[in-house]
């Protein structure tokens, strides 16, 4: 008799869990955390052996339409055959990307995901001694190793404290579904596009008129400089929530799941809200582009709305505040859509979708660091993808340097005036 699916699920052994007790940095309190093995697996960072120890060659005798490669461990002389998709995964296994990130890159590249491909490849690579595994965070590992050093201890305590500031809700999906049902869907309708166009038109007209009154506006702001700056920054920070909410609603619009919504300290120093909308990768390319575009459009809308309202007011602190806030919003719109800065923001995601190069940032860094100079020395033409990588790297480098120089100029100029 065949086994029913329900029985099969019941008979399958549960994923193993370990329960850890983590003490606070002060050593007083503690919390216990259950860590499922599946989570640890997703966060592991496979690393291929050093480049000098392996070589790869494309096999000429594969069946028509199927590209396969021979991957050889030079030390053990073991050779395995891998497909084009497996080669892509192999290239991601640099010790920096987690399995979760590798799976995402795969999905973006191939548009679908085979749940067996990564475990199967890892087994194959391990049998040929082509792979090692690294812990989750190398920074944390280094800090843990140097705990005797007070600076390392302080850095570790700071990181831990910042991690503690993360507030996450994994049950936010239902909330966003409700928001979408009770009016959020309008944001993805032609009505929203028309409203945005009208607000941008009205706001632009006001902005042009206000430009002529910039002296009065800056004067009004200058009288309450500190209050104005703090107010503008605080209000702007709060609008980051709406940016993330729109991303989440876009996810719902395309029938995908919002995995998390919360507050965290990004890169250890930027307080921000975030929405985990990675499920959108399972949707169409159009959905991914709309999702990436939706967040920045919030800034465009708020910016021009403020310009419009400011245009109706008399000179004073309120007008000055609205104009400063509007400028910051419009600036954020452009910054978040600007793809060339090595940061994977909304604009970057749109760019990779348009170019069809899902791991552009990683590929560009890798190619410029390791492949470009060899190709130039050999005077070989670059492929389309390599040209894209070089262009992305060059534009990003120029942008970052330009941004730094601009800020230096602004500081120097402000100091003189």
């Amino acid at each position: 008799m065949s086994e029913t699916p329900d029985n099969a699920t019941a008979d399958r052994p549960k994923r193993a869990r370990i329960e850890l007790l983590v003490r606070s940095a002060e050593g007083e309190g503690f919390e216990t955390r259950e860590i499922p093995s599946a989570l640890a697996y997703l966060h592991s960072r496979p690393q291929r052996i050093p480049d000098a120890q392996w070589e790869m060659a494309r096999l000429p005798y594969a069946p028509r339409g199927v590209v396969t490669y021979a991957l050889k461990n030079r030390r053990t002389e073991q050779i395995i055959q891998i497909t084009d998709a497996e080669k892509f995964l192999w290239e991601q296994m640099n010790g920096h990307a987690s399995l979760q990130e590798i799976a995402t890159a795969y999905l973006l590249r191939y548009g679908s995901f085979d749940f067996e491909i990564i475990p199967t490849l890892i087994v194959k690579l391990r049998h040929a001694d082509l792979l090692t595994m690294r812990p989750v965070s190398r920074l944390r590992a280094v800090l843990a190793r140097n705990r005797r050093n007070p600076a390392a201890r302080a850095a570790e305590a700071t990181l831990h404290a910042l991690e503690k500031l993360t507030v996450t809700s994994r049950r936010s999906h239902n909330v966003f579904e409700r928001i979408y049902r009770y009016g959020g869907f309008l944001l993805f309708s032609p009505v929203a596009v028309v409203a945005l166009a009208v607000v941008v038109a009205l706001g632009s007209r006001s902005a042009v008129r206000l430009w002529g009154e910039s002296g009065e506006i800056t004067h009004a702001l200058g009288e309450h400089a500190l209050a104005a700056i703090l107010l503008v920054k605080l209000c702007f920070w709060l609008t980051v929530v709406s940016h993330q909410i729109i991303h989440a609603l876009a996810c719902i619009h395309y029938h995908r799941r919002v995995r998390e919504f919360g507050f965290t300290i990004l890169h250890g120093f930027i307080p921000t809200f975030y929405a985990d909308v990675t499920d959108i990768f399972m949707a169409t390319r159009r959905a991914r582009i709309v999702n990436a575009l939706a967040g920045p459009l919030v800034h465009l809308f708020l910016g021009f709305l403020c310009f419009w309202i400011a245009g109706l007011l008399r000179p004073g602190l309120t007008l000055g505040f609205l104009v400063a806030y509007a400028i910051l919003q419009v600036q954020s719109f452009f910054v978040s859509l600007y793809p060339f800065c090595f940061l994977e923001m909304d604009g970057y995601h749109i760019l990779v979708e348009l170019l069809g190069v899902p791991s552009l940032n990683h590929d560009a860094m890798h190619f410029v660091r390791e492949g470009l100079w060899r190709r130039l020395a050999a005077r070989q033409w670059l492929t389309r993808q390599e040209v894209i990588c070089v262009a992305y790297f060059g534009l990003s480098l120029v942008s970052v340097v330009g941004f730094i120089l601009l800020n230096v100029w602004v500081l120097v100029h402000a100091g003189r005036s």
Binding site: A16, R17, I18, L21, A144
Partner: protein, 166 residues
């Protein structure tokens, strides 16, 4: 000393469930009450131990150091359970794990000398005590073996190691 003899509680403790009531009444004044607030560490692994503890109320988490501030939870113990016996009865007098209150807890501590007096004064009850103690030890040994197996399985799953086919 704990306030009033609570024989009913001592009967809940597996070590004392077959001990005669007069012996329990005589033992009661030797038990020292300890109150812990949530998060209080009763003792840490490696410290010298002179007492075993009975949990009257609350929950105690038993853990052992893994790395840095991270420890592995070995067990959670609740009312009626005993811990700390290894350093009192074992060959080493050091605590083998760290015990900490997971919630506000009331414990009764029995010191090494008091335990020895209990054994000497009523050998018959002491035999029952040790019979149950060995059952407790065997159960904990079994739990430790299960934990080792679970942690090994966790490691295999977490690293994706396929040991069956290598």
């Amino acid at each position: 000393m704990a306030p009033r003899p609570d024989v009913a509680f001592l009967r809940q403790v597996v070590l004392f469930k077959d001990v005669d009531e007069p012996t329990l009444l005589a033992l009661w004044p030797r038990l020292r009450e300890r109150r812990l607030k949530k998060g209080d560490v009763l003792f840490r692994a490696g410290e010298r131990g002179e007492e075993l503890f009975l949990i009257r109320s609350g929950s105690i988490v038993v853990s052992t150091l893994v790395t840095g501030r991270v420890e592995q939870v070995l067990a959670r113990l609740g009312p009626g359970e005993v811990f700390g016996e290894m350093s009192v009865l074992g060959d080493e007098q050091k605590r083998s794990a760290t015990c900490q209150a997971e919630s506000d807890a009331v414990l009764l501590g029995l010191g090494r000398n008091d335990l020895n007096q209990f054994i000497e004064s009523s050998p018959r009850d002491a035999a029952k005590f040790f019979q149950h103690m060995s059952q407790v030890a065997f159960r904990r040994l079994r739990q430790s073996s299960d934990l080792v197996a679970e942690v090994t399985r966790w490691g295999l799953e977490a690293t994706g190691l396929d040991v069956e086919h290598k």
